[in-house]
Symmetry: C2
Amino acid sequence: MDYSTNDSKSTSKKKVVAVVGGGLVGNLNACYFAKRGFQVEVFESREDIRQAKIVKGRSINLVLSHRGRQALKHVGMEDTIISKGIPMHSRMIHALNGTQSPIPYGKKGQYILSIDRANLNKELLSGRRMKFLIPMSPGEHAHHEYHLSEEIQADLIVGCDGAFSAIRKQFLRQSRFNYSQTYIPHGYLEFTIPPINGEFAMKPNNLHIWPRNTFMMIALPNLDKTFTCTLFMPFEEFEKVTTGDKVIEFFQKYFPDAIPLIGAEALKRDFFRLPAQAMVSVKCSPYHFGDKCVLMGDAAHAMVPFYGQGMNAGFEDCLVFNEIMDQLNEDFSAVLPEYTRVRVPDDQAIADLAMYNYVEMREHVNSKWFLFRKNVDNFLHIIMPRTIIPLYTMVTFTRTRYHKVVKHWHWQDKVRKDIVHVHSTLFKGL
Amino acid sequence: MDYSTNDSKSTSKKKVVAVVGGGLVGNLNACYFAKRGFQVEVFESREDIRQAKIVKGRSINLVLSHRGRQALKHVGMEDTIISKGIPMHSRMIHALNGTQSPIPYGKKGQYILSIDRANLNKELLSGRRMKFLIPMSPGEHAHHEYHLSEEIQADLIVGCDGAFSAIRKQFLRQSRFNYSQTYIPHGYLEFTIPPINGEFAMKPNNLHIWPRNTFMMIALPNLDKTFTCTLFMPFEEFEKVTTGDKVIEFFQKYFPDAIPLIGAEALKRDFFRLPAQAMVSVKCSPYHFGDKCVLMGDAAHAMVPFYGQGMNAGFEDCLVFNEIMDQLNEDFSAVLPEYTRVRVPDDQAIADLAMYNYVEMREHVNSKWFLFRKNVDNFLHIIMPRTIIPLYTMVTFTRTRYHKVVKHWHWQDKVRKDIVHVHSTLFKGL
């Protein structure tokens, strides 16, 4: 064997990969690079997440589905993570009158998982230390902003430092870096539904949804038999609700069945505990800079949460990068541009889909519409199972590339329209 | 009169407006604020533009049309500027075989003007000093990056500091600021067509266009009887042209009639004088921060140059802001949000139109297509003068709000399609 080559597998000195960001995607990525034999250092500016309280305003639970599971599986962590998740087989739609109607996510046996963010990161961190022998890095406790390549010495810097990425800020200084950040007019607040007599207060194996056009609330089950409720509504509506009495009045009008579940006193208190949190969609391109630096996860593509794919897309980034590392023999100068070429259109497609869902929801989703639309899709799938595959199924239960999912969906949409002879004109009555 | 009010017109102490950026929009804005009685200071980090050579890579000439003229008129500068411009009544389309075909911009008597950037700024600066008594400000020669509100003491800061605005960078640190920067794959280079025997080498009262699908060249006349040629093509194509011989080969293939006009030796030399320059489209929202700071011109909405509206939109910003100052009695806390509300959709519409023109041009504009399409529009305008107004006319020769222009155009497009029974499907044969 020739020890003088630069092939990382054959050199005596290991190549160093610096992973910036010790959140979900950073920790998973650390495992991927360690598995390949790189020396991995993780840089995290926050406190050790295992000791830290939940980051202010970050959502407490996450949805794990096929893409995320496949990425975890590759580093042997799928089973552990799944054992701490709660399967959700259906949406449970809450009508204004309190009626609950389930809509399955897919076929029998298909489900998504409600996962606790803090616990997931703890498991990933443990897996990283136990399975892949990646110690806490010297920089992992440092409290400072990172400056690309000034402070970090490594063969590759992987920016997994989230929606407000410091690594990405350095990319903005380069010429011809495309970037967008879009805040939506909605904010969110979280509430808790406590257990009743030690049991879940609602059916646990569902993602509960209260669709009310402009407003929406969802609830996800947790292992401690609580539910985390998230209320989405425009900031200007949040601003109108200024007193505890107005909170109750608001819930009585839109979510009456949730008042006894959350509790009137808790509602009044928690509504004002934190300001409503903003949601941002971030896109950029390229994802790489030279053969030295690459962005993954929210640092590359933060998305609004309305498709439950943010974490799954971030985890799939690791898997896709790993596939390209195999194809191109770990040559960063070839791998990084190829990763940009392959992954940008997919991440942008899912970010757009999440935004599309937001816009659609905001404009005309109430419980009746939701039930009708999902049932039409499911009906068409049953009569033409190979032609009409619900969009949700392609996104959630396959690894079909996101941009191909969108293409197929547009094509299906055309077929569906031909079937029902609906010809809508984009620009009405101007 | 009560001198204790905060109304700037009635207080004894003048309100101070800091205009950041002494380029075209900055200097015009300075005049607007001075005309209203504000004390104006202009901050510019480059050398005095009257002495400075043309900024490296900035285009030499600009197109002035109705909106820009109206804005100049309000501060009494229209006539001076126009007297230094060259009217262009038609596009002159150069086919590959050398045939030249004119397409009028509008009706008889309608024209756009080719204006020299350096001269225009000099005139604006002189007008500012002579007519409005705004001296060179203390900060106008300083060479440093501005930090919002740290260094500049003023009642209002107006960021007119261009596509790479330092003021806008401060906005990015605020929550819920929407921002995008998009570089297009094309770059540009400039050449000069010298006079022949002291006269213009081509017809002077035209904007000459060589449309070649992916490649395009244009030429605008200058007062010194030269033309400035701008070649647009993808960066990857620029990279293929590596030697003087390849330059000539390239021009022989696509722009043979331009070789004798520019001169083979000048072509070989100037092709490599500067690297091809990038073009960026920038959008953001809001344009204001509190009642203290507002963005105008390229700082708010840099656009690709394919509609000749960049400067005109920037000048119209000043005019629109001024109209809102009238309506809302110079109350910045009301004027700034209103300016954002009114102007963002218009600027985004023209930035989108410019990008649309770029995409359309890149995909299928050659001289035949260009002639056909423009003639169809003109024909429809003749038979239905009130229903079909060419898009170009609405943009260039009216002050119809840009977003309304786009709405009307979409509507017309529908009418046009109904007329010719063309039903195109967006997603073909997937």
